[in-house]
């Protein structure tokens, strides 16, 4: 049993931290957020130059072949800076999917270099975190396939060059297609989301795709990629929670009322202690999620990940809300980063299945023994 990071992992953490502090400060992020695209190609290229986009790409495709613990370390360090670029979507989830599809490996090399972005378009209205919920249809049309359906709240869709679209074939199985963004019949309705990133409704109407667009991936492969993404999301949340906790404790030490720092008041001390306990439990479960998210035992994997999301969803809500509460009026302001952490934590609770969805999944998996 060993909870320490390797020397390489510590270096990775340091690299990401330094980049975020120096090149992705909060004011700079605000400028990027308010830009037309809502993300920065320059920052994306910088992440590529640091090797971070190659982290999850296997070595045989020019990547670093890192494992989920490395991803955890990176996401943890990226978290507090509230990156607006599609790191999780492209460099973690889409990469995890593509690396199981050797015929599209070339794309991964471009992604690692920062030359193109791929994003999974999977969720649909009504899915509520159920990875098997796919109503988008796929029918043979001559030698091609025709796709019809709608994908909802697809993060970073407009930033992507490729969408990886899930659809249900006539035999009922889930199939995945690699779809260029400029494909006729594919249209986006873009909008900002509460955490400052962009997303879109993706409409697929009579989209025609050749057989070569079809990924050699089934529901299992999709599930594995989503699990890796979920573990990475947990790590991001833990990074943000730590930052929010530290900032709150710092505020309690410095803010003076009634002639003393407000951190002297027991009601606030106990709230801060509760935040710390939530954080520690969340960190433990994020570690478990990273260690189990690539486990071949699907039951063990899904059980650990659902338990992790429940713990992290709860902690994210509590820490986010209390960070705002303990900052008082300042916590409500757009000016301070604390409200932005709260917003991202709120978004995280709703992503990849919310707490109740995972609680239910945990119950169902636990019952199959």
């Amino acid at each position: 049993m060993d909870f320490s990071l390797s020397e390489e992992q510590r270096q990775l953490e340091e690299t990401v931290r330094r980049f975020m502090a120096k090149d992705y400060a909060f004011e700079k992020r605000r400028v990027i957020r308010d830009s037309a695209e809502g993300w920065s190609r320059e920052a994306w290229q910088a992440l590529a130059d640091l090797g971070l986009l190659a982290l999850n790409v296997p070595e045989e495709y020019g990547g670093l072949g890192a494992g989920p613990v490395d991803t955890m370390v990176a996401m943890n360090a990226l978290g507090p800076g509230l990156l607006l670029e599609p790191y999780l979507a492209s460099a973690v989830v889409a990469t995890a999917l593509l690396r199981e599809c050797p015929q599209h490996a070339g794309l991964m090399e471009q992604m690692a270099a920062g030359e193109c972005i791929a994003v999974l378009a999977h969720d649909e209205p009504g899915a509520r975190g159920d990875p098997g919920y796919v109503a988008t249809r796929c029918r043979p049309a001559g030698t091609d396939f025709q796709i019809d359906g709608r994908k909802c709240v697809v993060g970073h869709a407009a930033a992507a060059d490729w969408l990886i679209v899930s659809a249900r074939g006539e035999d009922g199985d889930i199939v995945l297609f690699l779809v260029p963004l400029d494909t006729p019949g594919l249209s986006l309705d873009g909008y900002p989301t509460l955490d400052g990133t962009r997303a879109a409704e993706v409409h697929l109407t009579g989209v025609r795709l050749p057989e070569t667009a079809r990924l050699d991936a089934d529901r299992e492969v999709l599930g594995r990629a989503l699990d890796i993404g979920l573990a990475a999301l947990c790590a991001e949340a833990v990074g943000i929670m730590k930052a929010a906790l530290d900032a709150t404790v710092d505020y309690l030490r410095t803010r003076q009322q009634f002639g003393q720092p407000i951190g002297r008041f027991q009601a606030l001390q106990h709230r801060a202690a509760d935040m710390l306990m939530h954080y520690e439990q969340a960190k433990s479960m994020s570690t478990l999620a990273a260690m189990r998210c690539t486990s071949k035992d699907a039951r063990e994997r899904r059980r650990a990940l659902s338990a992790a999301k429940v713990t992290i969803g709860r902690a994210a809500c509590f820490i986010g809300q209390q960070a705002v509460q303990l900052h008082g009026g300042m916590g409500m302001s757009d000016e301070l980063v604390v409200s932005h952490w709260f917003k991202r934590l709120t978004a995280i609770e709703l992503m990849f299945g919310d707490t109740d969805t995972h609680l239910q999944q945990f119950i169902e998996i636990s019952a199959q023994s």
Partner: protein, 390 residues
């Protein structure tokens, strides 16, 4: 990073498991599983079996004092396996509380006189800390010891003394300098419970049990040789004791055992014609507890591995105490709910299913967990002040 135990640790776990399976008397296991109080003899019987195995009765003891010299992880595994195997919790007052103080602050004579009998379960110890006016504010204690002709004359009252009715010895914090402020004038005394002037009176708790006592001291004479450390420096011992051996304080093994019991009961009980465990609201509450326990287990292991690196339990143990006691209480509460109306028959009456007997008493009894050993509110003060530095 690696969450798995080493092969050696797994082999050790097997060794402990086999020992508990073979040696734990069936009658004791049965009482523990029903949440009943053990007799003095039963506690000592189990401790002696552990002692004979090679000092296992002192899991945290170094080899120099006859203990097994286990690492924090081995101690954790040992306690977990004992709990899972249905063994009673070791009575901590001798083994885990006074013994480490005597090892750290006692002189060679005291070590030779007291430690072997603690390890061999020949003498039963109890703790003389709390007083009617000194609970969370322990330093306000008023039991006085006046030095007179090579002895301390002790007068005062201790309370909430757990299993004091069985004890041969009591370790006490007493005020030796009434002029000094709070912590400064306190000394750490070892007192023979057979000393003239000691009266033990039972306190019956809400579950109907006699587990705690008041202890009165009237001109009790204590030889000077039974002062541990320096006079008026007893608070150092008290603080050491409070921070010692707390890395297993979460009680993960006990929580796992009780959670298994809860599932067993919930599978046997029915609601609307279906097993209770399938009821969505019940299942959600059960799952929340189970997930909390998964998280706490890893948090506990993280604290252990930090402890192994820097050899300091630290204030992180307060987190384990709070979360661990909350969990055990939550499990006992859900057991009560699972049992339903048959939890109402009390005081030995058990007209319902066997698993219903005594569950209410156990639920009531476990409310103590968040009060003793530094209430959970005091633990939060420690977390806020020592970890968060507020």
């Amino acid at each position: 990073m690696n969450l798995d135990f080493t092969d050696a640790e797994n082999a050790f776990r097997e060794e402990v498991r086999a020992f508990v399976r073979e040696k734990l008397p069936v009658a004791i296991r049965d009482k523990v599983s029903r949440g009943l109080h053990l007799t003095r003899g039963e506690h000592l019987q189990w401790q002696r079996l552990l002692y004979e195995r090679g000092g296992w009765s002192g899991p945290g003891w170094p080899k120099a004092f006859g203990g097994p010299g286990w690492s924090p992880v081995e101690q954790y595994i040992f306690e977990e396996e004992c709990a899972l195997g249905g063994a009673p919790r070791l009575i901590p007052f001798g083994m885990k509380m006074v013994a480490p103080v005597i090892m750290a602050f006692g002189n060679a004579t005291q070590q030779a006189r007291f430690l072997p009998k603690i390890l061999a379960a020949e003498e039963w110890w109890c703790q003389g800390y709390s007083e009617p006016g000194a609970g969370s504010d322990l330093a306000s204690l008023r039991t006085r010891a006046v030095r007179k002709e090579g002895r301390h004359i002790v007068n005062g009252q201790k309370t909430w003394t757990t299993l004091g009715q069985h004890a041969d010895w009591i370790f006490c914090l007493v005020r030796t300098d009434p002029e000094a402020k709070a912590q400064r004038g306190i000394s750490f005394l070892l007192i023979d419970m057979k000393s003239p002037g000691i009266t033990v009176r039972p306190i019956i708790t809400l579950d109907g049990a006699h587990e705690v006592n008041e202890i009165w001291f009237e001109d009790v004479e204590v030889p000077a040789a039974h002062l541990v450390g320096e006079e008026n420096k007893g608070w150092t011992c008290a603080k050491f004791l409070l921070s010692h051996e707390r890395s297993n304080i979460a009680g993960i093994g006990i929580a796992k055992r009780e959670l298994a019991r809860l599932k067993h009961i919930a599978a046997a009980e029915t609601k609307r014609g279906r097993p209770l465990i399938e009821d969505p609201l019940f299942a959600a509450r059960l799952a929340e507890i189970e997930i909390d326990l998964m998280a706490l287990e890893i948090t506990n292991l993280r604290v252990l591995s930090a402890e192994a690196e820097k050899r300091a339990p630290g204030p992180e143990a307060s987190i384990l105490k709070i979360k661990g006691t909350e969990l055990q209480q939550a499990i006992s509460e859900l057991i009560l709910q699972a049992v339903g109306p048959y939890a109402l028959p009390f005081a030995g009456a058990a007209p319902g299913p066997a698993h219903a007997a005594n569950r209410a008493a156990q639920y009531l009894n476990l409310r103590k967990l968040s009060i003793y050993g530094g209430s959970n509110e005091i633990q939060k003060n420690i977390v806020a002040q020592m970890i968060l530095e507020l």
